[in-house]
Symmetry: C2
């Protein structure tokens, strides 16, 4: 029988002591935590569980911030784009920003750290041709009429963005706005270390210091109406200061430019192909941040406590798949699980003793209130998380927010009881062993590669965007599939594709970092990939793979994929595309395929293609024989159980390994099977909300027909 | 009472003499013509009507072609793209082409006239690194493994493409394939002139020599299954020969390259931004072709006959809006009317005495057969043509094909009787005067400008393409609207926008010649247009106007239009777009707006926009105040009576001249009004297939409520 305790962290608060104990016992929690805006009650400090304390290195000390205004954190902002109508233009810097969050840095020399750019030509305006008018917070520029201008400038973050977000979301009234301070700078650094030591001494009952987080907040900027203006979970724009940038210049050996950070106003969104300078900056920040984080972690360890990092908020510079992360010496990472992808983003992290996933919903009034559906969100979240856990388990799960809200919502506690039960059952049955994977690896190819595993094709993680779900679905499908998945960059391709990779996936919109942009006119990239496929590999493209308009093609690997996109230039070329859906990939599939937003104007071409799905005259799913290998093209692939199955089959087909697919297999597309060969346990899960029948195959042979309840996870013994 | 005769040309044939006379009398035709595949019967030569004879300068003389194989017309072809798998590659030149249509030119030196290109790098392969293997019709290339290669080569056009098309469409069996010959070359030129003189002498009863056409066929290439492979109505790929190209080199002062013509395989489709070299080539060909055409026209005139040019088939080099066209001295141009746009393309031509439109359907068995709907096509064609004729009239109309098919189709003759009646009525009431237009001009801005008036945003003219109808609709709407329309190029903009232009329209897909591509990063273009709007002008963008990814914007005039397109890079920027459809532009409009295929990912931005229509979170119709002027953005605008009305209002709004709109106005969106002030005649047309009521306004005052039959044209006196 499955253990009924452990692996679970619950939040608590001052007003819910008795209920916390009741729920802890009911759910078998072995850890309690506080959250932003809640407090760990003294009465619980002696409970026989681990106590986590949320620890903020850069805020919750306004006194220090106010005494050291020059060490308040800074952010590079870009002003509105303003078109000059004459030869003089004044740009009001803070227009559109919230002055409670950000304040123009007037301490450091604007001429040294700011940049005025003519966005019509891209040229930098000479510092002699503009002046900062401090009293009006305006920059006055000598302009060319009808050119458009921006000012990139530094501002102090006088309200911590996450505190501001929590404040607004929870409608807090009298909480003072928390300022931020920059732990990288010497005075603050010394102070923060001392303070951490003192805190450790004063909190002997705390077992786990949950850093939330280290030093730099991801970019989260509010507008003048206190609405979110810009949010980039991977953004480095708020990790800057003249102190840091001068160090960067010495390290890099070249002069820093604000444009490296503001990036035409895109702020180095993950979708942008990273510039060399931005990559340098990330590298530099990782080195510095990880080294300093290690010092804090060492302090924590010296008091016999564990150090845990929250993967979020001030996580910038600690990229968990970066080269320096393991050196921090953390015991654990905890992060928010919004989907299978975000779960894998946490559970695949190396260099820590354990990982913890904070499941959704967060216990905040936006969900636990009128119109909210916390039970539905919990079910949905678990259904996506579960299939990913079966492939790569988190060690622990937990929740966050106000426990009171959860305990008062009818039926919610029962729902998480069931989640926690299944989670423990998975651990019991897998017993630390790895689940069966196909005898080849699958790689996702984009500009970020291994540095940002499971992070691609999304905006703020796990948030649905009409522009991204049709691409992100590929990763969501993969997160629960029986494949070892690598994330590789174009540099990796050029160094030579490792022999164990048999299928490469390129998914994204044209000219983004995910599709690859100018990498597709790098002959070393295209020749390596053509050879890879020609010799038997598989190449799967989704959306606008390999896209770059060049020499008569939009998709540079049109020959491999068997498709190209009509950009208007080849409308004069007749196409005679016809559908033939009889194919291995669609053998289990009934009804229409969901390509999400899809991609218009795709046509098949060449002599070796077969079109499996069309929308009018446009092709949506195409396979192509290329030498000994295969190309597969999808117009889009949002997550759904059916699309998981289509992708599973497409991968086996692309690999030329169709015969391996039924090593372990369940027929119903709403179901999936995971096998732990060492423990001889088999899990069959129903990913749908309805009862279904499915046939289990092992080694190609029919074994048993199963009837699964909605959402059920059924365990079988392999030796049955 | 309207005249019952004149302005009409009917086709005839040997087998339909009596019926021709009956129909000529019934319909009041004043001209008869033969067609490709038909013959003018001798019995009709004495009828009291004008006789047109179709005259072919480049075909119908296989004996000559066979005696002079080196003067057969040639076409630049590009081979299939083939990926090298080793260091040697053989490309079979004729793969995918039809060997009955085209034959590799082995007479001229391949090393001089062909080009092998590495399409992976775009580099030309040295002539030392490839060999033409004549016996196998292959080119053997020294290659870099996994690079892709093409061969550009010359082939003789051994079957005239239009003859081949007619042969296939009519399922002719024993007609010999007509070869083509190049009238530009000295021997043939001399021969053709002599022959024309002889022909004029031998055909004294012929009044009009209908050139079909001059010397070079537009690009029309068939594949190995006799299907259309490539068709570009504007294409110059079949107007080449070493003789011509050597002359071009002398004229241009630089070496010719096949790439100027094959253009990466796109063959200089109208959608491509034309290269300098291609523009030079067009210019050169126009000069040469027009000068030679003049010589033939002079011959015709010397025999007292008229010379008419068919705008199609071998029309290449005679661009009717080009600088040299008028010098040909033609009496008339005749062309196929597929829509309002193609009608205006003919009726707006200057430099001829009259224009004639060949209405649809063409009397061919594909329409006059099972499943065909010739009456529906005729109605549709007339409904679109009529509104354009009211703005810019053709002088004559006519039909083509086999008269027998038309005469035998029940009800068809009655249908064209009604068309011809309305056509004559328009002429009677307009009496050679110009209809009322708004007190400002509208300009369509693209890379082709005035050279290709009414020719933009289409593939083969008036053929529906899913990729183009949402853009072409703008022109179709304009073709019947009360505006003087100019077509201007980016060079025109840079020279200074003429004062009488008040609204500029930019419509098309990103990076095409119609949108403008790199012209949008030309600061002279954007500053001129910004100033134009700032000072009160209007700028209307449809689809992907002003698109070029540069300095933080996709639409370079995002500030003017109030919108940009989300290319993934700014997903981190929050948008708060909300719809407010209360606006002058939508005052008459009920129900949904049809944006056709639309444009996804459009969002409004800036401080001066109003969103009139949305699809989820994407904007579809946005207006923007810009200084004293206005921007208007449409996600697409297919032709429909409702969209004509929306565009009419958008233009008056963009011009800041809303108060002028009701100078003459009808309320029902299915109706339009045309006013001939000099004759005091007003036409109100019903563009829909249903009865409707509409209120006529003059000078802003209600005049009368009219009830119009389906498709009716009602004439009123302005003085009523």
């Amino acid at each position: 029988m499955t253990k009924q305790t452990g692996r679970l962290t619950l939040p608590t608060d001052a007003d819910i002591v008795e209920e916390t104990i009741r729920l802890k016992n009911l759910l078998g929690a072995d850890a309690l935590r506080d959250c932003d805006g809640t407090e760990m009650p003294d009465a619980l400090l002696n409970e026989p569980v681990k106590k986590y304390a949320t620890y903020y290195t850069t805020r919750k000390d306004n006194a220090w911030a106010e005494q050291n205004p020059e060490e308040i954190q800074q952010e590079y902002l870009i002003s509105n784009r303003v078109t000059a109508r004459s030869e003089k233009l004044c740009i009001r810097l803070m227009e559109g920003f919230h002055t409670q969050q950000l304040k123009v840095n007037t301490l450091d020399d604007p001429k040294r750290w700011w940049e005025v750019i003519d966005r019509t030509t891209g040229e930098v305006v000479s510092v002699d041709d503009w002046e900062f008018k401090k009293e009006r917070e305006e920059v006055e520029i000598k302009t060319i009429p009808y050119h458009e201008y921006t000012v990139s400038f530094l501002a102090f973050l006088i309200w911590d963005p996450v505190h501001m977000y929590n404040f607004i979301t929870n409608d807090w009234k009298d909480t003072p706005h928390q300022l931020t301070y920059d732990v990288r700078q010497p005075k603050t650094q010394k102070y923060v270390k001392e303070k951490l030591k003192r805190w450790c001494e004063e909190n002997p009952q705390i077992d786990v210091v949950r850093f939330t987080t280290f030093f730099h907040q991801f970019t989260l900027t509010f507008d003048d109406k206190k609405r979110e203006k810009f949010v980039e979970w991977f953004g480095y724009s708020a990790s800057v200061s003249p102190y840091i940038l001068e160090k960067f210049e010495k390290w890099a050996g070249y002069k820093f430019r604000p444009e490296f950070i503001v990036d035409q106003g895109y702020h180095n969104s993950m979708f942008r192909v990273p510039s060399r300078e931005f990559k340098d900056f990330i590298e530099f920040q990782q080195q510095e941040v990880c080294a300093l984080a290690k010092e804090l972690v060492d302090i924590v360890h010296s008091y016999g406590k564990e150090a845990m990092m929250f993967l979020g908020d001030h996580w910038i510079g600690t990229e968990p798949y970066g080269k320096y992360f393991a050196e921090i010496g953390l015991d654990a990472v905890v992060g928010s699980v919004g989907s299978g992808v975000t779960l894998r983003m946490i559970s695949d992290i190396k260099g820590v003793k354990y990982t913890e996933g904070r499941l959704l919903p967060y216990f905040f009034p936006d969900v636990f209130g009128e119109g909210g559906d916390p039970i539905g969100e919990a079910k949905d979240n678990w259904m996506k998380a579960r299939r990913a856990i079966l492939r790569s388990p988190l060690d622990r799960i937990g929740y966050g927010g106000y426990l009171k809200l959860a305990s008062e919502w009818p039926g919610f506690i029962e729902e998480i009881q069931s989640v926690v039960g299944e989670f423990r059952q998975i651990h019991e049955n897998m017993n630390g062993t790895k689940s069966y994977v196909a005898p080849f690896k699958v790689a996702v190819l984009n500009c970020w590669g291994g540095l940002r595993k499971w992070m691609s094709n999304q905006v703020h993680h796990a948030i649905w965007h009409r522009e991204t779900y049709s691409a992100e679905g590929v990763l969501e499908c993969l997160s629960g599939m029986p494949f070892d998945v690598e994330f590789i960059s174009f540099d990796d391709v050029k160094k030579g594709i490792p022999k164990d990779i048999r299928v490469i996936i390129n998914v994204g919109d044209a000219y983004t970092s995910f599709s690859g942009a100018e990498n597709w006119i790098d002959e070393a990239v295209v020749t390596t990939l053509r050879q890879f496929v020609d010799e038997g590999g598989g190449f799967i493209g989704v959306g606008e793979p390999t896209a770059y308009q060049h020499q008569g093609r939009f998709f540079q690997l049109a020959d491999v994929l068997g498709v190209d996109r009509e950009m208007g230039f080849s409308l004069s070329t007749d196409k005679y595309n016809e559908k033939n859906p009889q194919h291995f990939i669609l053998e289990d599939i009934e009804g229409d395929i969901d390509f999400g937003e899809g991609t218009t104007r795709i046509y098949a071409q060449g002599d070796h293609y077969q079109i499996l799905a069309m929308d009018g005259e446009y092709s949506q799913l195409v396979v192509n024989q290329y030498g000994k290998g295969h190309g597969v093209y999808f117009a889009g692939l949002p997550y759904s159980p059916q699309n998981c199955r289509i992708l599973l089959r497409a991968i086996y087909y692309a690999a030329g390994m169709e015969q391996e697919m039924k090593r372990y297999y369940v027929t119903n597309v709403d179901t999936e099977v995971t096998v732990f060969q060492k423990t001889q346990k088999i899990a069959v899960i129903n990913n749908s909300g309805k009862e279904c029948q499915t046939d289990l195959y092992i080694n190609g042979d029919f074994i048993v027909r199963l009837t699964l309840e909605p959402g059920e996870m059924r365990w079988l013994n392999e030796t049955m």
